[in-house]
Amino acid sequence: MSKYFKAKTVDNISLNKHFRLLNLSPLSDIDIPQPGQFYMLQTGDTCDPLLKRPFSIFRHEENSLSFLYRIRGKGTLSLSRLKSGDIINAIGPLGNSYPVPDGDFIALAGGIGIASLLPLMRKFKERAYLFYGARSKEELVMMDEAKAVSKESFITTDDGSEGKKGLITDSLMKFFNSLPITHHPLPLYACGPTPMLRELYRIIKSKIQNPKSQIIECYVSMEEYMACGVGVCLGCVVKVRSQEPVDSSQKWIYKRVCKEGPVFDIKDIIWE
């Protein structure tokens, strides 16, 4: 059993102009991925694109791995060219995973961030309060499944073409405010664009600073450019608060998103 394996493309389904669902069938025994973990996928077969690209596991079934992705640049474009039968190399599962929630929880997804959160929501069916925001209706991929496995769902789009018009963090804020102070705090899992995570941190920080509110556990899946995905290149680091800093003048150290992450406690990250 190796984390480096070949896989055959079963299909590579176009969901709309930007989003695809890639189904792979590994050609050897593989480890079972946990929600939040990711794989480095080969996207082409020449030296351009050169590096593998990281993608969260979206679904794992017996002898099948699925990835939900958005076409962004040349790597994902190249990935979108894969057709049934094509064989690619993959490395994974990699990184840590979302801590198991005790009871109900909040899942905050911005756009393609849903890819990383759905496995958690699927595993703990009907326990998630889903907050899912995207630019438009078209970009709210997998919404039906996401709603189906959630306890309750809150949807926003930037243009109002589906759900509420506005930012998903605003909906989250309202939700917090509507909860009775005595409500058992729900752990929160978030994945999405950095501005969303930054805003989330602002919200969480204000709650922490409010002596009346209970402290929320909050885990975020971080993104950084990756070269190796396995912890050797040191390309993917984020600043994390630390008691044992490298440099005594600074209270932080670099941690690798691919190894110590991608899931971090939001309070540990230094948001600049």
Binding site: S2, L50, N89, G231, C233, V238, Y254
Partner: protein, 314 residues
């Protein structure tokens, strides 16, 4: 050409000598692309490697540069890790014991901001059990000399190599910077200053601009180019160095398969190191070793040393 009647039955010799070290085969890992060996030990049997070269160390730990630290380029990548590392002491305490389990030479890459730091690091590493050779990374700026890069100024390079040579009895490999007019000259200086081998190439300085932000993509502005894009430059440099030095050469830069490794060996490298390609295929070093063996068998050679420097030029 070593064709013996039953050559098909014989397994050709792959082992080479570098600076007094005996390598099972000429395939090593390039510094900074293989960590301290642990991460990739999940993927391959380290005992099969010719040697392992670890991430560059300094006497004290370093945080390295802010992010983004890497960006992909056509057939290559730029990195500006900024020499983040755990420092010599933590390496000796936490990482060396793991590496000592294996029956392969451990080559430690190191650097400093000043000649004193180089000397100090070399001394500390020379006393550690399980370090078999040192590789000096001289592609870093010299604080004392106003941040001139050690490896691009002949005088500065001569001083630092001479100083380190006195500080260690371990085999000493000098890793050359490609950002120079005459790499042959730099190699010659390293040889005269006491290097037992030279390795080349380190990365070539490059920049990618984010045109919308009108900023470099890398937080450090520039980074080092590696990967297949640089291979033709690296092969040419190995050949230029081979023509002027007697000490062995460790060739690297863009090797992703056995054919690429052979280009370097034929051009004069006695061993090769694989860097960026590990990221793409964690098993690439093993596949290259197997590919070299196959090439020797197919072409009727009985010993890899027969092809080293065998380039016929016009």
């Amino acid at each position: 050409m070593g064709i013996t009647p039953n050559s098909e039955l014989r397994i050709p010799n792959l082992s080479v000598d570098i600076a007094g070290l005996k390598l099972k085969n000429p395939v090593m890992t390039a510094s900074g692309t293989f960590g301290y060996g642990e991460e990739y030990s999940e993927f391959l049997d380290l005992n099969r490697l010719g040697a392992i070269v670890v991430k560059g160390l300094s006497i004290t730990p370093r945080q390295g540069n802010p992010t983004p630290r890497i960006v992909e380029t056509p057939a290559g990548m730029l990195n500006a890790i900024g020499l983040q590392n755990i420092g010599v002491n933590v390496f000796i305490r936490d990482k060396l014991p793991f590496l000592r389990q294996f029956d392969i030479p451990v080559i430690v890459n190191f650097f400093g901001d000043s000649i004193d730091e180089y000397i100090h690091a070399a001394e500390m590493l020379s006393n550690a059990e399980g370090v078999h050779a040192l590789e000096m990374n001289i592609s870093c700026p010299n604080k004392q000399a106003g941040w001139i890069v050690f490896g691009t100024d002949p005088k500065t390079m001569e001083q630092v190599v001479t100083a380190v040579r006195k500080a260690t009895r371990l085999p000493l490999i000098v890793k050359l910077s490609p950002n120079v007019t005459d790499i042959g000259l730099m190699a010659k200086i390293a040889e005269n200053a006491g290097a037992d081998a030279v390795s080349l190439i380190n990365t070539i300085t490059g920049m990618v601009v984010d045109v919308k932000k009108q900023r470099p993509v890398l937080a450090n502005n520039t980074g080092g180019l590696s990967g297949p894009a640089v291979r033709p430059i690296a092969v040419r440099m190995v050949w230029e160095v081979y023509k002027v030095v007697k000490i062995p050469i460790i060739g690297m830069g863009g090797i992703i398969n056995a054919n690429d490794a052979l280009e370097f060996l034929i051009a004069g490298a006695r061993a090769v190191a694989v860097g960026t390609a590990n990221f793409i295929n964690p098993n690439v070093t093993i596949e290259i070793i197997e590919g070299l063996e196959k090439f020797l068998i197919d072409e009727g050679f009985s010993d890899i040393n027969e092809i080293i420097g065998s380039l016929k030029i016009s």
